[in-house]
Subunit: 535 residues, 2 copies
């Protein structure tokens, strides 16, 4: 007997927002331009009505309740309402093909699905493939049920209406499952990561840190990253108890509307993948900046240096790199500058900090190992496989698939190739499978992309390996140019050579396209590019 053994479950955090932040707002912009707005007091009442509704549906503890939904206040209600009843929230990736969705829903053994109205046609395709055989309840996130071929669909608002708005806290074991998210599956079938109450509560607390997202009660946050993707980087689980105002942009990305929303709601911190911040930069410039934005969190892929510099120089906005994966909840490292760098100029900080994947968060441990499995020195040069461990890192996939991803001594193999800097920052050289092996030496596709995107005529660039008889692999540059611009292979080779690339590393093939294809979470889809050009 010493300190209280309070379980780390969602009930520890759920009561905070309604009690201490009852009039703080949650704002959701819908694609038609309408902004829905309510307070945390409203949120908590409705989330508790949802808890009663889930009980009324007869779902058992531990059963999966899925969402197939854009970011919105109703999705936020499910984030808290589902786990607070002891059930498991499964966030379905709406960018998956009907085939993959069918696989995932069946694999997860989902019992109920909460679906946005415009995604019903997608679910109909899943139904046609037999994907909904185990699903007993379909709930459309709206007032009424639109026309659909799906049987027995009910409306969310009707489901929760009239139910009590207070729900007695449950004594949930902290290692009970809370959520389920499938990796986007760039290789093989998607694999399920099961979050526990403990891992999510720890992550929620750690994420508010000055070393992490740095969000507190004075903030207004906007996760552009989807709520179906690694819990929107955990932002909703942090912002809610810490009392930050939350803003959601529902539906597909509309750069002009997004920037207008950020300005109108006075967002202080937003989070998204680099391609998002590329898409909206011109809009921010046209508006003359976003003076209330304190910093942008940028992860999922390495942002090109030119993007970091543009935001800093033209808008005065630091772009803070975030590194993590679905398997790491996801925050593992963030690139904040150190006390020792207080007098450094921006150029030096960009070199040493902003172009890196960050300092590991306390709680997360990292190791970089060579091919023999020995830890390499953090000397800024030695490269190896990045391994992580910690209380919010997965130790397995659902059904014990992909066991090779976990070492016998308790680490998760990220599949990233990394370098540790002497300053303690981790540099992601590449995904293991994206690294180009040419003539026995390695070329980082990410480094090359970053350099190519610094060219003014280039809008986007992705580099993939193509087989080569003599050199084993050679880099191929896929480029989308800015409107009215053109670019040649020579121009790119010349620029890369001046940027420090060796002659043997320079690409000898270019493919110009209208836009680089993207994955469901907005990253460049190299799998699709390889399929197109590898042959």
């Amino acid at each position: 007997m010493a300190m209280m053994e309070t379980p780390l479950n969602t009930w520890l955090l759920f009561g905070h927002a309604p009690r201490y932040f009852p009039d703080t707002e949650v704002a959701t912009r819908f694609p038609d331009g309408h902004v829905h707005r309510y307070t945390y007091a409203d949120f908590a009442r409705r989330a508790q009505q949802l808890m009663h509704a889930l009980d009324a549906l007869g779902l058992e503890p531990g059963e999966r309740v899925a969402t197939l939904a854009w970011n919105s206040y109703r999705h936020l209600e499910a984030y808290w309402g589902v786990p607070c009843t002891g059930r498991v929230l499964h966030t379905l990736n709406l960018r998956l093909s009907p085939e993959d969705l069918t696989y995932v829903i069946r694999h997860a053994d989902d019992r109920a699905i909460l679906v946005d109205p415009d995604l019903l046609p997608l679910l109909e395709k899943v139904h046609a493939r037999g994907g909904l055989e185990g699903v007993r309840h379909l709930v459309v996130l709206g007032d009424t049920v639109p026309e659909t071929t799906l049987p027995g669909v009910s409306a969310y608002e009707e489901l929760i209406a009239g139910r009590p708005s207070a729900y007695p806290p449950r004594d949930i074991d902290e290692i009970a499952p809370l959520g389920l998210c499938y990796t986007s599956g760039t290789t093989g079938r998607p694999k399920g990561v099961v979050y526990t109450h403990r891992s999510t509560v720890l992550h929620a607390i750690a994420a508010s840190s000055q070393a992490a997202m740095a969000i507190g009660p004075g903030d207004c946050v906007l996760p552009v990253v989807p709520m179906f993707h690694a819990n929107a980087w955990g932002m909703p689980y942090t912002a809610t108890p810490y009392g930050a105002k939350q803003v959601f942009s529902s539906g597909p990305l509309d750069p002009a509307a997004l920037v207008e929303l950020m300005a109108a709601e006075r967002v202080t911190v937003a989070a998204g993948v680099p391609t998002i911040w590329m898409s909206v930069a011109d809009e921010i410039e046209a508006r003359g900046g976003l003076p209330e934005l304190r910093h942008l969190l940028c992860g999922g892929a390495r942002p090109p240096r030119s993007l970091i510099e543009r935001y800093r120089r033209d808008f005065g906005i630091p772009l803070i790199q975030v590194w993590g994966m679905t398997e790491t909840s996801p925050l593992a490292s963030l690139a904040w500058p150190k006390e020792r760098m207080r007098d450094w100029d921006e150029q030096r900080i960009t070199d040493a900090v902003r172009t890196r994947a960050g300092l590991p968060l306390p709680g997360v441990q990292m190791d970089i190992r060579d091919e023999e499995g020995n830890s390499v020195a953090w000397d800024g040069e030695s490269m190896g496989d990045l391994l992580v461990r910690g209380p919010w890192v997965a130790n397995s996939y659902l059904g014990d698939e992909g066991a090779a991803g976990f070492t016998e001594d308790g680490w998760f193999r990220t599949g990233d190739i990394a370098i540790g800097s002497p300053h303690g920052y981790v540099v992601i050289a590449d995904r293991a499978k994206d690294l180009i092996k040419s003539g026995g030496e390695w070329i980082s596709s990410v480094d090359m992309e970053s350099a190519v995107m610094a060219l003014p005529e280039v809008a986007e660039a992705a580099v993939i390996a193509v087989p080569d008889d003599r050199w084993q692999e050679r880099p191929l540059i896929c480029v989308a140019t800015r409107p009215g611009s053109t670019v040649t292979l020579d121009r790119i080779r010349d620029h890369l050579e001046r940027s420090g690339f060796a002659r043997w590393q320079l690409p000898d093939r270019i493919e110009v396209m209208e836009a680089i294809p993207r994955t469901g979470v907005g990253k460049f889809d190299k799998k699709a590019l390889r399929a197109r050009f590898d042959s």
Copy 2:
């Protein structure tokens, strides 16, 4: 199987500073003006040498290793070195009387004591009272052992010298004891609070939050609050893994030296009791401010409004109130403004936020109960006993003493009388025992002190209850004036009436003294005042 069940013990955090912040500094100023300076790489090597030294002393796991020491880098080494070996760090309060120290050392069953050289005479007095009978090792925190009547004293530097600087991590259960701290005991004997690895790790992570101390890798922190007092509010356990530079001021407070140290080391965040910030305000003014200081954390007692206003107005430094107790690790609430208040002027924020004890940190739950034990509304008026609970709140005292301090339904009774504001901020009206009951109504001693200290001629003021035949109790004002000033009872009554106090609340007795006596942790010592004037 889902997420790693990594235990929350000190080893989860200890490796962070040397690996990711090897060249970040720890600076300690000693009373002779000398500043010792080393890096986290040095710190970690020496802390691990200490771990080996503790093993060599033959101490068993779970045995208590005490410190009787000022803030310093060696004290920091003990903070980590002792718990990482599975032993328990007992921070002795050097302001206690030899009698109380004797009681505490025997009660805790301390096996070893690490003591600062200038505190050996105090320990000699404890020895004379038989307080060291169970203590097997006395280690003086220095290079050599000064002259002393104590037998068998060794020197810290000799003890750790030559030992290996790497220590294999131990697999410590997260609910194993990590530390022990006695409450300062304003009533009755001091009682021991036992911190666990889990509670301290959770607190360390939560304390770095933007809603808490808001410290990260870019910061330089100075805990003016002693390391023997509730772990210096947990600052060393947070700053070390988060990579903030740490600055310690060793020895008794010297206002001019402290301000000089803050300026020279470029401190961004400092923590201390209100009397500290009162003492140094003139020094800060003489220096024209401290431009690199971002905010001051102020707790242990409610700071007078005039102090808050002076720091804000004259120095541009927000004074952030912190509320907590030894039993709460200690951070329970901090007074940060909310998003809804972004457009408020400073006056309004001072009223609603800065003069309050804060918003509870996520993880900490609070309840205010009336005399019948019913929760009262957070309406800005209803007053009651403040109860708290959470994973870093004590559920008992060592030896199960003071069991009345814990409710059957799992809450800790703080002994504070509080009001909850509709905005969610808690207001500490008074310590239950300091509230003045006059003619059946309550007078808050803290409110009255805060008002009196706004008078320019008053340096410090403390209000206590004195027995009264007719009214039961009446307020007595104890005042220390500024140099060259005088103050009268009439002047104070007049000022209080204009400040909104009712006529029946006005004091009818004043005692002018050179300085208000203080407790071991720098708060006004009302127990001493009552002993002097109650008769």
